[in-house]
C-alpha cells in the first residue's frame, strides 16, 4: 500500500467536495436542519392537552374537580360549554383531546357517599397521548374527593431526565440517526458518480490498489462524518442545553467508531450499484429508513413483533443509540456500554471486509 497514491486520492476527493456546493450543503447543512427540526418539533411530552369541560352541576365540588384537572399540568381548558354535543363536535373535529362531563347532582351524591359517575372521554387517535391522559385522568378522578388525602402517596422520582423533557431524549438519539443518514449516502454517491462519469476507468487502469482506493475514499468521508458528529453533538449540547452526564470524550470516541462503520456501509452499497440513482435509493432504504424507524429512536423496539425486533437488531444504529443515550442521560461509562461498542466494532469489521471483498478494479 503506497501512501502517496492513497493520499493523492483523498486529496482529489477533498478538492472535488470543496468545489461542489451540493455535497457541502448536504454534509453540513442537512444534519443541522435535521437536528433543529427534530429537537424543536418532536416532543413526546404530554402537557397542556386541550380539554373541554361540560359542567352541568356548577357546584363548588364540580369546580374543584375541574381545577384538579387544569392544575395537573396535563390539561388545559379549551372550552366550557353547557351542551354536551358541542364537546362531542369538538372531539370529532380534533379541536380537543379530551372532554370531561360532570353531570347534574355531582356534589349532592358525593356528599351523600353515593356512587358518583363522571365521564371522561379521550380522543384515542394519538395512542401515546391518549394512554397517558387516560391514566392521569383516572388517577385524578380516583383521588377525588380530597379532604381525605390519598392514603397511599407515591413519591415519584424520575431519574436521568427529571423534567421528562423529551428533547433530552430525542437529541442523543439524533446523533445516531443523522450519522447513519448522510455519510453513507455521500460516500455511495461519490463512488457511483465516478462510475457514471467514467472517471473511475482512469483509476482502474493505474497502479492504485484496492486497498488504497477504499482507504482513500474512506478517509475524507470519515472526516466529514466526524465533523458532522461534532456539529450535531455541539449543537445538541450547547444550543439545546441537553446536559451530558457522562464523558463527552467517550461519546466522541465511540462516535468515531460509529462513523467509520457508517461510511463503510456507504462503500459497501457503492460496490453493489452502478448509477447514482441506484446508490441513492439503496442507501436510503438500507440506512435512513431503518435508522429512523427501527432503531428505537422514536418507536421503541421492545413493542415490536419479534420478527421486526430481529430486523432492528441487524442495524448498528440501535447500538450506538443505546450507547449515546446511556452516556448522555444516564452517565454510563465504559463498563456499562462495552457490549454496544463491541457490536459496533464487529459490524464495522464485517461490513468493511465485505466491501473490500466485493470491490474489483474492473468495469465488469
Amino acid at each position: 500500500m503506497k501512501l502517496r497514491r492513497m493520499l493523492a486520492f483523498s486529496r482529489k476527493e477533498v478538492l472535488e467536495i470543496s468545489r461542489d456546493p451540493f455535497t457541502v450543503a448536504v454534509a453540513i447543512f442537512m444534519p443541522l436542519v435535521m437536528l433543529f427540526l427534530f429537537a424543536y418539533a418532536i416532543s413526546l411530552d404530554v402537557e397542556n392537552a386541550p380539554l373541554v369541560v361540560v359542567d352541568q352541576d356548577k357546584s363548588a365540588a364540580s369546580r374543584d374537580l375541574q381545577a384538579r384537572f387544569l392544575n395537573s399540568g396535563y390539561f388545559m381548558l379549551k372550552a366550557a360549554p353547557d351542551d354536551a354535543r358541542v364537546a362531542e363536535h369538538a372531539l370529532m373535529r380534533g379541536e380537543t383531546r379530551a372532554a370531561l362531563f360532570i353531570p347534574n347532582g355531582f356534589a349532592r351524591r358525593l356528599s351523600r357517599g353515593e356512587p358518583t359517575p363522571v365521564q371522561l372521554i379521550v380522543d384515542g387517535t394519538y395512542a401515546t397521548t391518549a394512554s397517558i391522559l387516560s391514566a392521569y385522568g383516572r388517577a385524578i378522578l380516583y383521588a377525588f374527593p380530597g379532604e381525605l388525602r390519598l392514603p397511599i402517596q407515591p413519591e415519584v422520582r424520575v431519574w436521568y431526565n427529571p423534567q421528562l423533557r423529551s428533547r433530552d431524549f430525542i437529541v442523543p438519539g439524533l446523533f445516531a440517526v443523522i450519522l447513519m443518514a448522510f455519510p453513507p449516502l455521500l460516500t455511495a454517491l461519490a463512488v457511483a458518480r465516478e462510475k457514471e462519469l467514467g472517471t473511475i476507468a482512469q483509476i482502474y487502469a493505474s497502479p492504485m490498489t484496492k486497498g488504497e482506493f477504499i482507504a482513500g475514499k474512506l478517509l475524507p468521508y470519515a472526516v466529514i462524518a466526524f465533523l458532522e458528529l461534532l456539529i450535531v453533538v455541539g449543537g445538541g449540547l450547547l444550543w439545546f442545553s441537553v446536559p451530558i452526564r457522562g464523558s463527552l470524550l467517550l461519546l466522541i470516541v465511540v462516535g468515531l467508531l460509529y462513523v467509520v462503520c457508517t461510511v463503510s456501509i456507504g462503500l459497501l452499497v457503492s460496490t453493489l450499484v452502478r448509477t447514482q440513482l441506484a446508490a441513492m435509493l439503496v442507501a436510503l432504504i438500507v440506512t435512513l429508513m431503518p435508522a429512523f424507524l427501527f432503531s428505537g429512536f422514536v418507536y421503541p423496539i421492545f413493542t415490536m413483533p419479534v420478527a421486526f425486533q430481529s430486523y432492528a437488531s441487524a442495524f448498528p444504529t440501535r447500538y450506538f443509540l443505546e450507547a449515546s443515550r446511556g452516556i448522555v442521560l444516564r452517565g454510563a461509562g465504559l463498563k456499562e456500554i462495552w457490549a454496544y461498542i463491541a457490536i459496533i466494532a464487529a459490524y464495522t469489521v464485517v461490513v468493511f471486509a465485505l466491501a473490500a471483498w466485493r470491490f474489483r478494479k474492473r468495469i465488469a
Partner: protein, 366 residues
Amino acid sequence: MWGRIAGLTVKEFTQVLRDPIILFLVVYLYSAELVICTLALGFDVQNLKLGVIDHDRTEVSRTVIQELTGGDNFVLAAQFADMRQVEDHLQRGALDAVVEIPPGFARRIAAGRRADLGVVVDGSNGNVAARARAYVIEILARFAQERTGAPRHVHGVRPALRVWYNPDLTNTRFMALTMLAEAGLMLGVVLPAAAIVREKQGGTIEQLRVTPIRAHELFLAKIMPTIVICTGAVFPVLLILTLLGVPMRGSIGTLLVLTVVFLMSAVSIGVFVATITNTLQQAMLVSFFGLFPLLFLSGTIAPIETMPGWLQAATQASPLRHYVDIVSGLFLKGAGIGELWLHAVVLIAISAAMFAGGWFLFKRQW
C-alpha cells in the same frame, strides 16, 4: 389541442407503467411499507419491567405489588434488597421503573395514616418514562380508593373512561392512516418530478418544444398519471386498511375529492423540484430531503399541539397536516364535511396557490 393532449397522456402513462423504479415505489409505498410500519410501529407500550424493593413484607405490601404487576402495564422483573442493587440495573437500562415499599407500610395504612411509597422511573427512556409514571400513579390511586375507603367514603368518584375512535389504544390505526397520507405526498411529488426531469435528461424536451405542443398541454399530461394513479390507489389501500383493522366511518366520496385536492399540492412541489434539477437522481434527492421536514412536522410522529407555538402556526401551511386531520377524521371519527369543512377549505386554498405557483414556474422554463 385535444389530439395533442391525448397523445401526450398516452405517452406518459406508457412510460410510467414501464419504469420499474416508479412502479416499485408505488406498489411498495402503498402496500409493504404501509403494512410493515403499521405492524412494527404499533407502539403498544405494555409489559414494562418493574423492579420491587419490599422492606415491609406484609400481606398489604404484597397486594400492592400484585396490583401493580397484575395487569398489562408492568411485569415483575426482580425483587431487590435495596436501592443500591437497583442503581446498576437502572443504569444499564434493564429496568423501566422501581417501586420501593418502606418498612411499616401496612401498619400506617391500617392506622389510617398516610403511607409514602417510593417510585423511581427511568427518565432516559422517553417513550416509556411518562407512561410508566402515569400507570403507577393511576394504579396506586385506584388501589388506594378501593382498599382504604373508610365507611364514610365507601364510594368516591366512579370514573367512567371512554376512549373514542381507538378504544384499544394501539397506534396501529393512526399509523396506517399517516402512512397512506405520506405515501400520497411522496409519490405526488416524485412521480411528476421524475416525468419532467426525464425529458430534460433525455434531451427530448427540445424535440417537444419544436412541435406545436403548448406548455399547458404538457403540464396537464405530466401530472395526470400521478393524480390518476394515486387517487386510484385509494381503493386497494382501503382494502388493506380494512384488513389491518382500520374502520372507515366516513364517506368515500369525500375522501376521493379531498385526496385529489391534496395531490394537487403535492404535484406542485414535484413540478418545482423538476424546475430546479436536471437529472433524475438530483430530483429524487431533492424531493426526499425537501419533503423531510413536511413529513415530520405534520402531526405524524407527534401531535402538533406539543410543538412550540411558532412551529404550530407554521404547520398550518402544510398540506400534509390538513390531509392527515381530514383522513383521521374521515376514517376514525366518521366526520363528514360538516366537521371537516375548515380543513378542507384551507387545503383547497393552499393547493390552489401552490398549483398556480407550479404552473407559473413550469411555463417559465418552457
